[in-house]
Subunit: 231 residues, 2 copies
Amino acid sequence: MAAMVERGIVSTTGLIAHGRGEAFDYLLGEATTPEAEAAEAAAAALLSLAQRPVITVNGNAAALAARELGDLARACGAPLEVNLFHRSDRRMDLVCDFVEGETGLKVLGRDQDAVLEGIASDRARCTKEGLLSADVVLIPLEDGDRAQAMVKAGKKVISIDLNPLSRTSLAAEVAVVDEITRAVPGITAWCSRFRTRPEEARGVLAAFDNHENLGSLLQRICRGLEEGPPK
Amino acid sequence: MAAMVERGIVSTTGLIAHGRGEAFDYLLGEATTPEAEAAEAAAAALLSLAQRPVITVNGNAAALAARELGDLARACGAPLEVNLFHRSDRRMDLVCDFVEGETGLKVLGRDQDAVLEGIASDRARCTKEGLLSADVVLIPLEDGDRAQAMVKAGKKVISIDLNPLSRTSLAAEVAVVDEITRAVPGITAWCSRFRTRPEEARGVLAAFDNHENLGSLLQRICRGLEEGPPK
């Protein structure tokens, strides 16, 4: 990640956010929990059944998992749209170039021609073709304001966020509380399975309850805390 | 903190560590818990009763709380000794200059003439006059290897670390699990009180059990997790 800061892909505040994620991952035992697995299946079901799915990519997501996100984009037919918290034209070009180089896919975001309602600042900027028209959006490592604005705009939101109590996780239809390089391949595998099994996808989705799943995860973290150090 | 990276005081890995701390502080409700208060009193008691107390200062501690550490150094008569995880002569000078400017105190560390046993790498370096001769060491934001090496060297270690399960917190005689800018003034206030009350300091210390205190704190974090978002 330090190298990604030097390249301009990750911002210094992105680095602090990454550290916060590391702490929560430590509490999860640095492994995909059964709750995360269930959320990854539900996320894949939502993406598979979507009309216009979109995957947003910020600096941290690009630095950590550009290739994995590219594989998922192919598996579920969703475009990648770059959105930066700390935006400059130069950084936008850098991140778009980086993601396109890593994935071999053309990304959205260089020409932001739309605005998401309810957010001050540059973070509101998006594309009409991508995020603004999407019905289902996967938002890895996204902040709470944007997550809530997307929900308000009627989109079904899938988050990837290691904090089970973040506004992002709580606002999401499906909150995947798992480290991004474990979560994204997990979702991709389920997408491949659902491609020929839409009924199974509908069943998985109907059985999934985000708040119940997060509650179960919190209990798991507590059991780990009371047992002492995870390793 | 981002500005402190640009000045060379904080390293990029220090920034990630800071983020980890933020996540744990979030779980504590960003406030000094009763367990932290008890640990701060015990820490002050240890410092007050010490023969040769020393306070170590690394880049993050300097960036976040140089002045507060200077006030504590004056209150308990302990020198400040700079120790860097990512050490270079230039960065050592930068951090020493910064801490001296903020505190008005002369710091130890520019001339490291001793080595702490049991640590590979530059992190073993310290001063004979300071850390090597100390009986009680306050180590804010320290890594587990150095904390354990100090314990092995027979020193009574007081940590300030937001992770209650870190090797540092578990190795310490007194683990203060509190944000550094809250913890240090708390310890300083107790030091002032104990200056004329050594018997009270001995009583506080005798009544303090680090593992019991950490266990109580973990239960508090769990209660918070099960209640949902702290704010």
